[in-house]
């Protein structure tokens, strides 16, 4: 097999006989986090190929692969890498965004703890391509186990000459460090993350200047998600064409989908982009355990989709989910049971965003952290009045697109979609004070 092999048909199913999981291929295997294991399974070959190609060719390769950011926004990775200035004489930084805090997302956690060398290799490739000399892995504070594994892997790599000066004789110098967060969702926003890394309050920064021009310490910086860097490792190892042969026209490659809520086998599944919800939910996760009314398709900020045949047949790629009115996000799929009050479910998420608002801008601090959360509490406690739902909608209009960063808009994802899909539940609750679906026991005994 060579790189030039054309992919005759795009692979859009995990069951396709040609599809082989790669990002997750070693997660869960014995001692998969060690350098020995990693090397024994073709580790650091992608890096060697990168060194052989030269940095510009690496960026071209990533561009050609069609890889898009896996942190939520889906920005083409190769293009992002090419924004870094060339020969500007300044130190460059790359940062791996391992702050994974979006409710419903839990893929990066296992990549960090079970296959840390895959990430180190990806960051070396990125660092080499973007002429960076230092990288940071910003790991959310709660991921203690992941951070420890990451540190240990970095130590191993350093001892093996894979980090430090003149790596593998390439003349490339690179250092990698872990920086741990301390419990703030906003640190996932790239400019807030840089502030946090600089020891400041994690308020998002003004853009422009964009990180590629003035990021960490005011120097050129690029931030990518854990899965994005890991995908780069695979792309350099197996080729851009291999990667581009999976997925759809505009959403190429494989993706780690996470599924949670009442399903038989919750967890992380590596599937090509364009796989349908139906395949993920039924063929891989074993189907729902109880009647479902909505799907949160990609982490809690993505608008809910109604549980119906059309949704189930929607391919999970950036475009198709957008066409259905939501977002692929982080690929964290959550099933919302029929028997739970949608207002209560949404309240939980609104509370999350209210708690995580950084407080910098007015619409988010007062609108979400102050008002919205109170409106929901009032409704759920049965003290709503007719007109409350209209008020929530009008407030949302005053919040949406008016805030400094995307956190406030993220909160409106579940709010607006749940009202749109389940208006009746809201109205009944606001008018009668009684939810259509009363609270129930959910905790398992054993």
């Amino acid at each position: 097999m060579t790189v030039a092999d054309p992919a005759p048909l795009a692979i859009t199913s995990g069951k396709d006989p040609r599809f082989a999981p790669s990002l997750y291929a070693h997660v869960g295997q014995d001692r998969s986090w060690t350098l020995d294991y990693f090397r024994g399974h073709g580790g650091y070959q992608g890096l060697r190929r990168a060194f052989a190609m030269g940095p510009d060719a690496v960026i071209d390769e990533v561009k050609k692969s069609g890889l898009r950011g896996r942190g939520g926004a889906g920005f083409p990775t190769g293009l992002k890498w090419s924004f870094m200035p060339l020969n500007d004489g300044k130190p460059h930084f790359i940062i791996c965004n391992a702050d994974e805090s979006e409710p419903g997302s839990f893929k990066d956690r296992y990549l960090l703890s079970e296959d840390p060398h895959q990430l180190i290799e990806g960051m070396l490739i990125g660092g080499y391509a973007m002429r960076a000399s230092v990288g940071y892995v910003y790991i959310r504070g709660e991921y203690v186990h992941a951070a420890e594994r990451m540190w240990a892997a970095i130590e191993e790599a350093r001892a093996a000459g894979l980090l430090g000066q003149n790596i593998l004789g390439s003349g490339f110098d690179f250092q990698l460090y872990v920086h741990r967060g301390a419990g703030a969702y906003i640190c996932g926003e790239e400019t807030a993350l840089m502030n946090s890394l600089e020891g400041l309050r994690a308020n998002p920064r003004l853009k422009p200047p964009f990180p590629a021009a003035a990021g960490l310490y005011g120097l050129p910086t690029t931030i990518n998600n854990v899965e994005t860097f890991c995908a780069a490792t695979q792309i350099l190892k197996y080729g851009a064409d291999w990667h581009a042969g999976m997925g759809t026209e505009k959403s190429k490659g494989m993706k780690l989908f996470q599924i949670s809520g009442p399903v038989a086998r919750p967890g992380v599944y590596e599937l090509p982009l364009g796989t349908t919800f139906r395949e993920l939910i039924y063929d891989w996760a074993g189907g729902p355990l109880e009647p479902i009314k909505a799907i949160i398709p990609g982490g809690s900020s993505c608008p809910m989709l109604r549980w119906d045949e059309a949704t189930l047949d929607t391919p999970m790629d950036y475009e198709a989910i957008a066409a259905a009115g939501s977002m692929l996000g982080t690929g964290g799929v959550t099933l919302v049971p029929q028997a739970d009050c949608i207002v209560d479910v949404t309240w939980n998420l609104v509370r999350f965003y209210a708690h995580e608002s950084c407080g910098k801008c007015t619409p988010c601090r007062e609108g979400i952290s102050g008002w919205m959360v109170n409106m929901y509490a009032k409704l759920v406690r049965g003290r709503g009045v007719p007109g409350d739902v209209e008020l929530i909608l009008d407030m949302s209009e005053n919040i949406g697109g008016r805030s400094f960063c995307a956190l406030a808009d993220a909160c409106l994802g579940p709010v607006l979609s749940s009202i749109k899909l389940f208006r009746e539940e809201y109205d009944v609750l606001a008018q009668t004070g009684q939810p259509m679906h009363p609270p129930r026991r959910r905790w398992k005994e054993a």
Binding site: A52, P103, S105, S196, L197, Y217, S260, P266, F352, A446
Partner: protein, 209 residues
Amino acid sequence: MNYFADKQLLVADIFSRYPDSPQGRRSALMPLLREVQDAEGFVSEARMAEIAALCGTTATEVRSVMSFYSTYHTLPTGRYHLQVCSTLMCSLAGSDELWDHLVSALDVQPGDVSADGRFSVQKVECLGSCGTAPVVQINDEGYYENVTRSKCDRLIAAMRADIPPLPDNPVPVTVREDGRQMTATGERVGASIHDRGPLPMPTRPGGEA
């Protein structure tokens, strides 16, 4: 007493991760806070001032940054600080009942420490354990996942006896040793990446092989 006085190596190691500049020094703020909290369970005003001096800033800034994040504490916590995820996916798996159960079984309210000094509790947001919900994190250590009522009671008993079990950190394994995934029905499908040999080395420039 000065906490970092006899930990010069540690402090030097932390500073070595960041640029040797005033901004770089400031970056050490969070790791230093973490050190103190791990050792003492909380960060006192005296420690804030000490960290401020190390990072070349003021106690105001340290307090400001510290209070921004939810895992730093200004008040002492119990020997076992239990953090219960209360976000939707855990809530759907019963974390509200889990929380009520903990609060009543341990007789402690958030912000307080139980009479025996053992327990404190805190509701936290999504811990990234949605597939293995509900989850409890103990101290700045690992996760206890899929916490059912009986598992919760076992956990409490073990902590009361001061022999807490090791964290689970279960991994949802979906790819078998042969590199293929298994569907819900137990069928092995698709290919294995192990069968795919690496590409030959490219020659510069371009990547043509």
